[in-house]
Structures are given as structure tokens and as C-alpha cells.
């Protein structure tokens, strides 16, 4: 199984690696996947409160090359989009862009989930969603 050039590129030169301040009201954080499954993605967005445009995005991923590439690509794609436009991103587009084989399609699904989880978190912070966010994301107990 050889990796596609695009996947190798994102793996070797990942875009937007890092963290945003999760306590900022402008930041939405999505944490999806589970270590037991071998895939965990954290995707964060910083949204301009006036325009609803995603001005910055950062990711960190524990997972295979395709997972890293999918989440790196996701941060590239959400930047510059409005929150609603970002919700339109489909995993099938990620599969196509990275030429993911069938066995790696789930990596693209997780990346799509990560985008939605981040947006859901941001929306909750804006009070736009009283109920649970768009995608259930991890419940992290902060150290005392």
C-alpha cells in the first residue's frame, strides 16, 4: 500500500499544527476519536465574531498518516470560510483530494466530525445552541 503524494506532503509538511486558547470565546474546540481506536483528532477554530468567518484553525492528531493528512487538510479548508460554509465540507471531498483508499475513508469521516465538533463547541459558547453540540465531543476532566 503506497501512500498518495498529497498524504505524504501533509504528513511531512503538516499545515496549522498547534493549539489555540480553548478558553477564548472566539475559539471552538473539537476533540473526536479515541486512543483505543488508534485515532484522536483535536481541531480548533478561531471565529471572527462579526463576520462569522473562521480566521484561524489549528490541529493535533494521534493517528496514521491518512488521519494526519485529513485533519491538516481540514484546517486548510476551513480557514477563510464562514462557519456555515465550513459545515458544508464533506468527508468525500477529503477522500478525493487525498486519494484515500477505501480502508482509510474513516479517517476523512473523523476529520469531518472534528470540524463539526469544533463548530458545535463555538456555537455553544455563543449561546446559539442550548442543547448538545452538532457532534458529541470528548469530556475532558481538567487537572485540579
Amino acid at each position: 500500500m503506497a501512500y498518495s503524494n498529497k498524504v505524504l506532503d501533509h504528513y511531512t509538511n503538516p499545515r496549522n499544527v498547534g493549539s489555540l486558547d480553548k478558553n477564548s470565546p472566539e475559539v471552538g474546540t473539537g476533540l473526536v476519536g479515541a486512543p483505543e481506536c488508534g485515532d484522536v483528532m483535536k481541531l480548533q477554530i478561531k471565529v471572527n465574531p462579526e463576520t462569522n468567518i473562521i480566521e484561524d484553525a489549528k490541529f493535533k492528531t494521534f493517528g496514521c498518516g491518512s488521519a494526519i493528512a485529513s485533519s491538516s487538510l481540514a484546517t486548510e479548508w476551513v480557514k477563510g470560510k464562514t462557519v456555515d460554509e465550513a459545515l458544508e465540507i464533506k468527508n468525500t471531498e477529503i477522500v478525493k483530494e487525498l486519494s484515500l483508499p477505501p480502508v482509510k475513508i474513516h479517517c476523512s469521516v473523523l476529520a469531518e466530525d472534528a470540524i463539526r465538533a469544533a463548530i458545535g463547541d463555538w456555537k455553544q459558547k455563543q449561546g446559539q445552541e442550548k442543547s448538545a453540540p452538532v457532534v458529541q465531543h470528548a469530556n475532558v476532566v481538567q487537572p485540579a
Binding site: 504528513y11 476533540l31 476519536g33 479515541a34 483505543e36 494521534f62 481538567q142 487537572p143
Partner: protein, 418 residues
């Protein structure tokens, strides 16, 4: 694809092969020994009436002798197969069918090769009862568990000498002794052990043993099965019929060139095993020290004390195995990660150690071999350390761990459904 690079004490040629539990490069001396049997000495070893056959038969007998000598057996006790998978099938199914009147209980353990586990699963469908013993954290079975599992219907115990993923050695001498006390047959898949560590069927109380050509610098497509003839005399029901070759236990024209190769590989192992074991242990320990000396949260899977000298299986916390392999793609090793398996299941061997799926996903297996050098070990150690460090910067788990978050207390969004 290949390249030469400077590393420490010398040049290394890329890509580096460090996956010798998967397969080994045939020794040039083995290949040379095989060649005439592809050329002028092409006879069928079963042709009794002419020189072409006699020459082939002689070569076959010499190969048998060489294999027997390596394991402390008698020439008549060696039969040839197409490989260890077939040997395991013949041993287990052959014994089960032969001794069915005596009993229907078979004992094995959780970290066996699939050739043993899947064969046992099939026998369960035919009405045999199989006990799969668990292993302890170090990868070894508990002898008391084995004692308790044996009953008056037990006819066969099948436990491997050395594990292919973690290199751990089982206490086969004690297992064999326990079996003999109770009149139970003892089969061992000795594939990863033969030619690497001392293995003697008499001293180790073994009745049936599987051997593979391509794991000891011989060719692929050939293996052997040791079948004891005295104390006790073991009989097996053939799984392949047609001509009655190999004392009626395994029909089919012998693959003379390949079995000659297997014989030569065993002869070489007999001569060189002690020295080579020492050298590889030194290289393996060097690799381990360099990696563990430069990284934290790195865990060895399985006992270091009871282990093949050339094996290292390490989990790198917070880093997934396939992404690590991608980062060292000029080095051939393997991983217990689900992403590297065809079935997307993580390594069942590592699961059996109780490590937890996350550490199985983070594991790398290094299998050093005859052709690995110190310069290669240094290169590999550096690349591994460099790649793990880089991937930890990308890892949300590493970040959370550094913040003091207890990852075992996190309620993850995607609880595994399997």
C-alpha cells in the same frame, strides 16, 4: 530506491531491513547450495529406479540429517512440508484425528500464531474442546494454569517456543515435562526459535515441532515437522493424501531445491548460532538503550529476560504506529497498530499482554538479523527518536498528558464498538 548514507561508524545502505521475524533474506550459501537442484540435478526424490532420483534422494536425506542435528532429533523423525503453517496444521489436526478415541481436549495459549489458533478454531467446529490459556504481563503462560487445565480428555498441548511479535520465550521444557507426566502430547511451533536459541527435542521434552525455512535464512515455501518416534511414538493422520510420501504423513513430490536450502540453513545455524546470538543481542541492546535513553514514556512489550536475542517490541506512548512507520519509511519494521493490519484490528498478542489498545496502536517491532550492522542500528535509533519527537508535537494526547490530564479518565467521543 536505494541510497547510501553516512551513519556513525560507517555507511548504511537504504532501505534498511529490520523485519526479520516476517522473513529473512536467504543466505548466499543457501542459494548456492540449492542451485544444482534447479539445474542438472533436477530428479524427483521418489524416482527409485534411476540416478536422477537417487541423487535427489541423497540430497533429501542430507537435508533431513542437517535439520535433525540442529534440534537433537533422529533423521527419520523429520518430514518436509510447504512451510510452518502446513506443519502446524498437520501437527494439530493430525494428532487430534489420530487420538480422538483417547480424548477431545486440546490446550493452547492466547498469543499463538494464527496458523495454530485458526486450526484450533476449526477443530472446535468438529467437536473438539480447546482451552486458550491467558498469558501474564510478561507474555509467558502460568504453569499452574496449564496444570489446572489438563484433564483426562486432554490429548495435545500446543504452545510456541518463541513468539513472532514480542520474541518472548515460553517455558517449554517445563511444559513438555508436565505433558509427559500425564501422557499428553506436546507440540511446539518452534519457527522463531530454531537456529536462534538452543532447542533440543529431547532435553526440552518436545514430541512434535514446526520449523520454517524462510525464518532462518532459507527459502520460502518449505518447512519441516519433527515427529517423535520413541517415548512416545507419535502418529499423525495425514492431511494431504496421494502417494504416501514422508512415511505416509505427507504426500506430494518433495520440493528438493527448497528442502536442500532449508537443510543448509540449519547446518549454518548449527555452526554460527552461538556467535550470531551474541552479536545480535548486542545490537538489539544497543538499539534499545539508544531509543530509551533519548525518549520518555517508552515501554517494552513482553519479558526482556525470556526473549529472543534479536527482538525488540516497543510502544511509544502518544504516537500511533503507522504514522511512525511512515516517518521512518526507509526502514523496514512492523507495527501492532490496527492501521497497519488488513483487518483494522490491533495486535491480539499485545492485547493479550493486557497493555491496552492505545499502546498496541503505538507499538513497533524490530527484528534484527544476520545482515544488520551497528551503523544501521545507530541510524535507525536516530530516525526513530527524531520521528517520535516530531509526532509527539503533533499529538493531542501528548499535549493533554503534559497538561497533567489523566487520559484514562477522559470520556472519549468515539468509544470503540469492537
Amino acid at each position: 530506491m536505494s541510497a547510501d548514507v553516512m551513519s556513525g561508524n560507517g555507511n548504511v545502505k537504504l532501505p534498511i531491513y529490520m523485519d526479520n521475524h516476517a522473513t529473512t533474506r536467504p543466505d548466499p550459501r543457501v542459494v548456492e547450495e540449492m542451485m544444482p537442484y534447479f539445474n542438472e540435478l533436477f530428479g524427483n526424490a521418489a524416482s527409485r529406479n534411476h540416478e536422477f532420483g537417487w541423487v535427489a534422494e541423497q540430497a533429501t536425506e542430507q537435508a533431513r540429517e542437517r535439520i535433525a542435528k540442529l534440534i537433537g532429533a533422529n533423521t527419520k523423525e523429520i518430514i518436509f512440508t510447504s512451510g510452518a503453517t502446513e506443519s502446524d496444521n498437520l501437527a494439530i489436526k493430525g494428532a487430534a484425528e489420530m487420538y480422538r478415541e483417547k480424548g477431545n481436549h486440546i490446550i493452547t495459549q492466547a498469543t499463538e500464531h494464527k496458523a495454530v489458533l485458526d486450526t484450533c478454531k476449526r477443530l472446535e467446529k468438529y467437536g473438539f474442546r480447546v482451552t486458550y490459556l491467558p498469558v501474564q504481563k510478561d507474555g509467558r503462560i502460568d504453569l499452574d494454569d496449564l496444570k489446572r487445565a489438563m484433564d483426562d480428555k486432554t490429548i495435545l498441548v500446543t504452545i510456541m517456543t518463541a513468539n513472532n511479535e514480542i520474541g518472548v520465550l515460553q517455558p517449554i521444557r517445563e511444559i513438555g515435562a508436565m505433558c509427559h507426566e500425564r501422557g499428553v502430547l506436546f507440540h511446539t511451533d518452534a519457527v522463531q526459535a530454531v537456529g536462534k536459541v538452543p532447542f533440543n527435542v529431547i532435553q526440552d521434552n518436545v514430541d512434535i515441532a514446526s520449523i520454517s525455512g524462510h525464518k532462518i535464512y532459507g527459502p520460502k515455501g518449505v518447512g519441516a515437522l519433527y515427529v517423535r518416534r520413541k517415548n512416545p511414538r507419535v502418529q499423525l493422520v495425514a492431511q494431504i493424501d496421494g502417494g504416501g510420501h514422508e512415511r505416509g504423513m505427507r504426500s506430494g513430490t518433495l520440493n528438493v531445491p527448497s528442502l536442500v536450502g532449508l537443510g543448509k540453513a540449519c547446518a549454518i545455524a548449527n555452526e554460527e548460532m552461538a556467535e550470531e546470538g551474541k552479536r545480535l543481542r548486542g545490537l538489539r541492546d544497543r538499539l534499545r538503550e539508544k531509543i530509551m535513553g533519548q525518549l520518555d514514556e517508552v515501554y517494552i512489550n513482553g519479558s526482556m529476560e525470556h526473549r529472543l536475542p534479536n527482538n525488540l517490541n516497543i510502544s511509544f506512548a502518544y504516537v500511533e504506529g503507522e504514522s511512525l512507520l511512515m516517518g521512518i519509511n526507509d526502514i523496514a519494521v512492523s507495527s501492532g497498530s490496527a492501521c497497519t493490519s488488513a483487518t483494522l484490528e490491533p495486535s491480539y498478542v499485545l492485547k493479550a499482554l493486557g497493555a491496552g489498545d492505545d499502546l498496541a496502536h503505538s507499538s513497533i517491532r524490530f527484528g534484527l538479523g544476520r545482515y544488520n550492522t551497528e551503523a544501521e542500528v545507530d541510524y535507525v535509533a536516530n530516525r526513530v527518536v527524531e520521528t517520535v519527537t516530531r509526532l509527539r508535537e503533533l499529538s493531542p494526547l501528548y499535549e493533554m498528558a503534559k497538561e497533567g490530564i489523566d487520559l484514562t479518565k477522559v470520556h472519549w467521543a468515539a468509544e470503540p464498538t469492537h
